[in-house]
Symmetry: C2
Subunit: 919 residues, 2 copies
Amino acid sequence: MSDRYLYSFGDGKAEGSYKMKNLLGGKGAGLAEMSNLGLPVPPGFTISTGVCTYFYQHKQTYPAGLRNLVRDAIGRVEDIIGKRFGDASDPLLVSVRSGARISMPGMMETVLNIGLTERTLEGLLEKTGNERFVFDAYRRLIQMYADVVMEKGNGNDSGNGQGVHDKMEQALSELKAECGYQQDTDLSTDDLKELVLTYKSIVQDTLGQPFPDDPYEQLWGAIGAVFASWNGKRAIAYRRIHTIPEEWGTAVNVQAMVFGNMGNDSATGVAFTRDPSTGEKLFFGEYLPNAQGEDVVAGIRTPRRLTITGSRQWAVDHQVNEEERKAKYISLEETLPEAYHNLVDIYQKLEVHYRDMLDIEFTIQQGRLWMLQTRVGKRTAQAALKIAVDLVNEGVISKEEGLLRVEPGTLDQLLHPTIGQRTEVTMLTRGLPASPGAATGRVVFSADDAVQWTESGDEGKSKVILVRNETSPEDIHGMNVAVGILTARGGMTSHAAVVARGMGKTCVAGAGEVMVDYDRKRFKVRGKVIKEGDWITLDGSAGRVLIGKVKLEKPELTDDFETFMSWADRFARMKVRTNADTPKDAQVARDYGAMGIGLCRTEHMFFEGNRIDAVREMILAENAEGRWKALKKLLPMQREDFEGIFRAMDGLPVTIRTLDPPLHEFLPQEQRDIEELALKSGVDYEKLAVKVHNLREINPMLGHRGCRLGIVYPEITEMQSRAIFEAAANVMKNGVKAMPEIMIPLVGHVNELRVQAEIVRKIAKEVMREKGIEIEYSVGTMIELPRAALTADEIAEVAEFFSFGTNDLTQTTYGFSRDDAGKFLPDYIDHKILKADPFQVLDRDGVGQLLRIGVFKGRSTNPKLKVGICGEHGGEPSSIEFCHDQHFNYVSCSPYRIPIARLSAAQAALRKREWEVGK
Amino acid sequence: MSDRYLYSFGDGKAEGSYKMKNLLGGKGAGLAEMSNLGLPVPPGFTISTGVCTYFYQHKQTYPAGLRNLVRDAIGRVEDIIGKRFGDASDPLLVSVRSGARISMPGMMETVLNIGLTERTLEGLLEKTGNERFVFDAYRRLIQMYADVVMEKGNGNDSGNGQGVHDKMEQALSELKAECGYQQDTDLSTDDLKELVLTYKSIVQDTLGQPFPDDPYEQLWGAIGAVFASWNGKRAIAYRRIHTIPEEWGTAVNVQAMVFGNMGNDSATGVAFTRDPSTGEKLFFGEYLPNAQGEDVVAGIRTPRRLTITGSRQWAVDHQVNEEERKAKYISLEETLPEAYHNLVDIYQKLEVHYRDMLDIEFTIQQGRLWMLQTRVGKRTAQAALKIAVDLVNEGVISKEEGLLRVEPGTLDQLLHPTIGQRTEVTMLTRGLPASPGAATGRVVFSADDAVQWTESGDEGKSKVILVRNETSPEDIHGMNVAVGILTARGGMTSHAAVVARGMGKTCVAGAGEVMVDYDRKRFKVRGKVIKEGDWITLDGSAGRVLIGKVKLEKPELTDDFETFMSWADRFARMKVRTNADTPKDAQVARDYGAMGIGLCRTEHMFFEGNRIDAVREMILAENAEGRWKALKKLLPMQREDFEGIFRAMDGLPVTIRTLDPPLHEFLPQEQRDIEELALKSGVDYEKLAVKVHNLREINPMLGHRGCRLGIVYPEITEMQSRAIFEAAANVMKNGVKAMPEIMIPLVGHVNELRVQAEIVRKIAKEVMREKGIEIEYSVGTMIELPRAALTADEIAEVAEFFSFGTNDLTQTTYGFSRDDAGKFLPDYIDHKILKADPFQVLDRDGVGQLLRIGVFKGRSTNPKLKVGICGEHGGEPSSIEFCHDQHFNYVSCSPYRIPIARLSAAQAALRKREWEVGK
C-alpha cells in the first residue's frame, strides 16, 4: 500500500480510508472515508505524503510515472463529473489543497479554480450563464496562483519591495476607492473583467512571464507550490512549536471544484458536531451564503449560525432584534432547510462512525450539499472532558477509551484562572510560560515591598506582581503574597518558575526584554517604562506580559471532572502524590486528589518570619554546641509545621526531605545586607563577611548541600528528625494518622545514607520512648546523582524507598546547570540536537536509563523497595508513562499538576495493557 | 589454620611461616621463617591478629583457652632455653612486641624484660653476676611497664598534668644533674638501685597501685597493652595516612629476652642487605656495643657501622681520623669478627631465601648472635629500581617479578628535585602536596609581578614563587615563569594543582593558614609575616611550606631507569600518552617515554602574549562575522603552536581537544580590570560590564562550555580545525609525520558530536584539497558526562575514539564540585564514608561502572573504537590497573607521571596474566 503515490476517491468509493492518515494526510483520509460512506464528496484524488518525502529527497522532483498517474486520476474525476479538464465547452475545475497528518491550519497553501483559461472561460460562461461568477473565479485564480505558485512557490519572493500580491491588493483597493465600493461583493462584472486584465499585466510586469493559460501547467504549478509550502517559514515555525517531525511531509488533494458562490442557493460553512468550547451536545457551526470557503476564513463578512437556536442565541448576544436577524443573520436551518437537514443527517452519521466530536466543512452549490472535509475536532480541555464523559454515558465509547481521549496536559487549563480567548489585551513583552494561569496586579520590585503593599490594608494594594531579575529563596515571603511573578532571567526550571509552580502561582520567567532598575523602582521594555504601582497582567500559560488590568476568567471544576478523575484512579496503577511544603499546599493538593506527599522541602520553612534569624545563628555558630543552641529555637517551629502537614494528610504518607540547600542561601550576599545582619546579630562584620565569603561556592549545585550538610553537621538532621517524630506523636494523640517517610537528599554513596539513617532511627526510638507511642515510619533517599542510581543495589540495602529527583539527576547526567543552560539549550532545540528540553520531558535514553538501572538494582537487593519520582517530570505526561513502564509505585508533582498526573498514570496503565494484549 | 590463636617458634622450627603474614604480622612471620631456616632465633610465640580482632569485637577480652595456650607456649620456651618463667634461681625473661601485617614503626607498644620481679631479680643477679646490668634491666622494665601498661594501656592517661613517664624522666634527670652525669651509662649500680625505689614509689603515688610483682600479671598486662595500642592515637593516625584497614589488627610476639647490654662482647644492631638509599649491593648497617635495641632507636649514642668499608666511609664523611675511628667508631667486622661473619652468612642465606633486599635486627649476647627480626626492607625509589634491576641481572628474579617489585607511585621521586631527608628545614605551614618536587624562590603575589621579576634581568629575582588565594587561567603567564605555586585555597585538583602538575611545577595548594593581603603584598601565617621578595621553599611532595632558602637535590635518571622502563614497555599492553599543551611539554614528555599526546588543551594557548586580546575581541563580537574577524587573528598563532607540537611528536598520535572552558574565564571580572579592558578594546564600559555579567554562571562547571561553545559558535571549531590541519600539512611537507586526533569535549548526546565532527571533517577536506596533501586523522570525543557513557553505543557510531575525562566524570557522577568539595570531603575520609578521595583514586564502583558501560557499549557498535583516559587518574597506579582490566588502549597523564604510568601499565598486565593463569 505504502508504495502507492496516488489514491482516488469519489462516487461512493475510495482507494484510501480514514486509517491511512499518515499516507493521505488528515484531509485526504477524511475525504476517502466520507466517499466510502457514500456521502456527497466532490470526486478527486490524493497525492500521498510519500511523494512529498520523495520530492525533498530528490531536489524537488517527482517520482517517475506520477504524471501519468495524475492524468489517469483526472480522467476518473472527469468520468464521474461528466466534464473534461481544459474542455472549452464544459470545463472541469479543480482545487489543490495541502493536507498533513496533523492539521496545520493556514500554514500551507491552497489554490482554487485550477483549469480556468482563456479557452475554458467561455465554456464556463456558457454553462453557468453567470458572467460575474466566472470572472470573479478567474480573478481569484490569477491572484492566488500568481502569489502562491509563481512568486512564493518558486522562491521569487525576495521579500524586498512590493510583490504581486501587494500590487494586486493595491489595484483592487484603488478600483474600489475610485468607484466608492465598501466590499468586494460590490464589484460589478465589468470591474472584475478590468481587474483580470490589470492582474495579468501585474504578473507579466512583476514576474517577467505571463499567467499560464494551460490547465495542466496550472495543475502542476499548484501541486509544486503545496509541496514547497511544507518547508515555508510559517510551516516550519508551526512544526517547531507543535513538535511535528519534518519527515512527515504533506499530501496534496486535487478535487473537483464546487462553488458556494453561485447565488443565494449556494453557501459554504464549517461546523462542529458538538460545542468545541464547552463540549455541550449541540450542533454548532457557521456559514456564509453565496461565498467561497476562503471568505469564511478571511473573516470579512460576518458568518451566520447554522441552527435556529444558535442564530437566536447569537442575536441575543449581539443585541440584534428578530427582524434584523432574519434579514441579515438568518440560520441555514431556516434559509436552506433541505441542505441543512442533509447536513444534520450526515454529521450524525459521521459522529457515529468516528465515535467522536468532528469538525466538518461543506459547500452548498445551488441547493446541493457537498462535503469537503471531516476530521476529529479540536476542543478545549473542558470540552474534551465533557465530550469524553458524555460519549461514555451515551454508550458510544468505553471508559478506557474515554480516558485516552483527553490530553492530560490540557487539564491544566481547568485549574488556573485564564484570560478569555476573545479578551482584548495590549502586549508588553514575552517570556517563558513558567507557571500557568493568569494574574493581574500592581508592580513591586522587592519581596519586602510585596509584603508591605499587601499588608497595608489598602484594598488597592492587595494584588501585587513581584518583578525581579531573578528570585532566590530570600524572596519566598514576597512570592507568597504576590499574585504573580515576573523575572527577567532564568528558565522554565529557574527558582522563580519552580517555586511559583509549587505555589500554583502564575509566573512568567526569563522575559529578556525587561530591564529592571531597582533603584528607581521601575522597569523598561524597549523604551516603555513601567513604574512601581502600575498595573500589569501576566499570562503564565502563554508567557505573555500585558499592559494594564485584564479581566480574568475563573474556572470551576465540574461534576464531569470528578467523574472522569475517579475513572482515572480506577485504572491507574501508580499513586499520585504531591510536592508540598505547607499545610495549605497540602490541603490544596488533597483537594485535587493527592494520595500523599512525595516531597516536603523543609528549607522553605526556614525563611518564614524570624526563623531565618535562628538559621543564621546556627550557621554562624563556632561549634556544635552553638549550633544546637540555635537549632533548639527552630525545633518547635518545624514541629508545628509538620503537625499541620500531618493533619492535612491524615492517613496518607508524607515524605519529608532533610535540609538540602547550601547554607550560603540563608545568608545575605550584598555588603549592605551583611552589615545589617552584623548589627542585628551582634557578630563582628569582618567575621561575618569572611563566613559569607567562605560559604560561597564556585558550583553550588555540586557543593556542600544535601546530606553533606547533615554529615558535617549531624545536629541538623537530629533536630529535624526530632521535629518530625514529635509532631507525628502529637497529632497521633489527637487521632490523626501520621505516616512520616524521612528522605535523605543527594546521596551518592551508601555510607552517606547509612550514617544519616542511623541518626534518624536513633531519634525515632528516643521520641517513641519519650512519648510512649509507636510511629510507623520509613527512611529512604532521593536518587538524584548518577552514582546513586549506579550503586542502587548497595543503597537499597539501607533505604526503604527511593524517590528519583530527576531535576538534579538530569543536571548531573547531562552536565547541564539548569540555571545556566538557557545560554545554549534554545540553540540545541533549534538545531535539533535535542528533541525536547530534558528538564521538561524526561530524557529516556540517558536519565531514563539511570532510572531503569536504579529500579532494577534497587529491587534486586530489596524487593519491597518503594519507588517514586519527585522531580518536575513527575507532572509531565510522557515522563509519567515512562515511570509506569519502569514499575514505579508513585509519582509526585506540584498540586496543580495532580489531575494531569492522575490521568497520565491511568493512560500509561491503559496503554501498557493495550500493548500487553497485543493490540 | 586461621582458627589458631597462637603459633610457637624456636629451636630450628616454627608452627608458622613467612606466608602467614596476615595472621602473624610481619615480625611474627619473619621470626617463624628464620626459625624454620635453622637460624639462631630466641624462642617464643606469636599471638595472632585473629585475637586482636576478637579482642575488639568482645569488649577487650580474650578468647576462651588463650590463657592455657600462652602458659603451654611459655612452657615450650622454658624447655628450649632451660630456664623457667618466674624461677627465683634462673628466671626466663621475655619481650612482648607488636607486629602488624605492615610495619608501623614506633606506632605501637613494646615491653621488655617481662618476668623480672623482686624474687627473680636475685636469681638473675646470681646467674649473670652483673649487678649493674640486672638493676638497669629492672629499672627499664618498671619505667616502660608503668607507662605503657599501667597508665596508657588502661586508659589512665588523662592527658592532664604529669604522668608516670614524665615523673620518672624528671627523677632520672634530677639524679643525673645531682651527680653531674652526662649519659645514662654514667649511672652507677647504686644509682640504679635508688632509681628502682624512686620509680616504684612514683608508680604507687601516681597510679594508686604497686608495680606488679607477678611474672604472669606482667605478661598479660603487656599483651593487653600491645593490643590496646592498635587503637592508640598514633596508630590510628598512621593507619589513616597509609590507608591501612582497621580490621587487620596486630599480632603480639612474646619471645625470650636476649641482651645486647651484657658487656663489650654484647651488642645490638640493624642492617639492610643492600643500601636502602641507593640500592647498591653493599651490606649496610649500624650497631651499638653493650646496648639494648631501644638505645639504637632512641639515637642517644652514635651508632657504628657494621663493615670496615662502611666505617671508613663514615669516618671520611664525618672528618674523623683513623685513630679516633678505631677508638670510638670501630666496625663490628673488626671488633666482633666471629659474630659479624655469622651475621654475613645469615643475611646472605636470608636474601637468597627471600629473593629480596631485607631489613634485619639482631642482638649479640656475650659473643653469640641472635636474630630478632627480618623483613623485606623499605627503600627509596632509586634503591627499589636498582635492586630490582640487579636482582634480575643476578638471575635471582625474573623481569616480571622485578617489575612488580617497584611501587609505581614512588618513581615520582626520581624526576623532581627534592629536599634531602637530612636537610634541616624550618616549617612555616602545610598545604596539600598538589604537585611534587621542591622549589625555592622569592614570594610574589601576582602573575604580572612574577613575569616582571623574572624578566628584570636581575639574577636575584629570577626565581619566584607565586602566592595566590587561588589561581585562574589568567594567571597562567605567571605560573609559567614561577618555580613554584602556593595557594591558600583549592584542592588536589584545583586549577593551580592541575596546571602545576601539567607543567611539572611544584605546587602546594590549599594551605589554609595562609592569609594573603594583596594590597600590602604580604601574607601571614599565625602572626608570622612573609613579604614580597622573601625566600620560601615549597615541598610539593609533602605539602610543606618552609621558611627561607633550602638546598635542593636534583635527581638524575640512571641507566637502570632506562633498562627498567624498557622492560615495563615490553610487558605493558596499554600505551602511555601525555597531557601536554606546548611543544616544550611535549618534548619533556617524550623524553620520559610518552607514546603520543592524549590531551592537548587548546585554551591555554589563548592566554599567551596578546592572544587574549583577540580572544576577547571574539567574545565581545556582536555576530558571527565579528567573531570570524577575531578568530582569523588567532588562526596563525594556533597553527604555529600545533606545528611545534606535531614536530615534537613526530610519528606519534596527538589528541587535540577543541575549546573547552566557559568564555567568562577569558574576561576580567573585577570592575577595575573591566574598565581597563573597555579603554583598551574601545568597547563601551557599560556594554562590556553587561557582557561580563551575562557570561557569569551559577554553576560554570555545568554551564556553557565544552562542545556547547562550538555548537553555539561553530566558527570557533572551524578556526581550530583549520589551524590543526594546516599545521599538520605544513610540517608534513618538511617530512614530519603528523597524526592529529581531534577530540570534542563534554559531549552528552550523539548529536552534539555529530554536528561538531561534521565541521571538523568538512575543514579537513578543504585543507587537504588546498594543500594537496593527505592527512591521517580521526575524530573522537571525551567521555566525561554520565550520559555519554550511558549512550556510548550511539556515540561510538560517530566517534573513532573515546577518551574518558574522569575528572569531570567524577564530578558529575558523584555530584561533587572539585572546587568546593574541600568543605566536606575531608570529613568524608575521616568518618570513613569514603575510603579515598575519588579525584585521586578512581571510584571503581560508581565512576568505574560508567567506564565499563562506556567501553562495552562503545565497542558494541564500533569494535575498532580506540579507548583512553585523560583525567588525573591516568597517572594513578590503581586507576591505571582498572583501565587495563577494562581493555583500554592507552592512558594519558602529565609528563612527570609518565614513568609511573608505564610501570603501572606493565604491572596491570602482569597481574592480569597471573590471574588468568590462575596463580
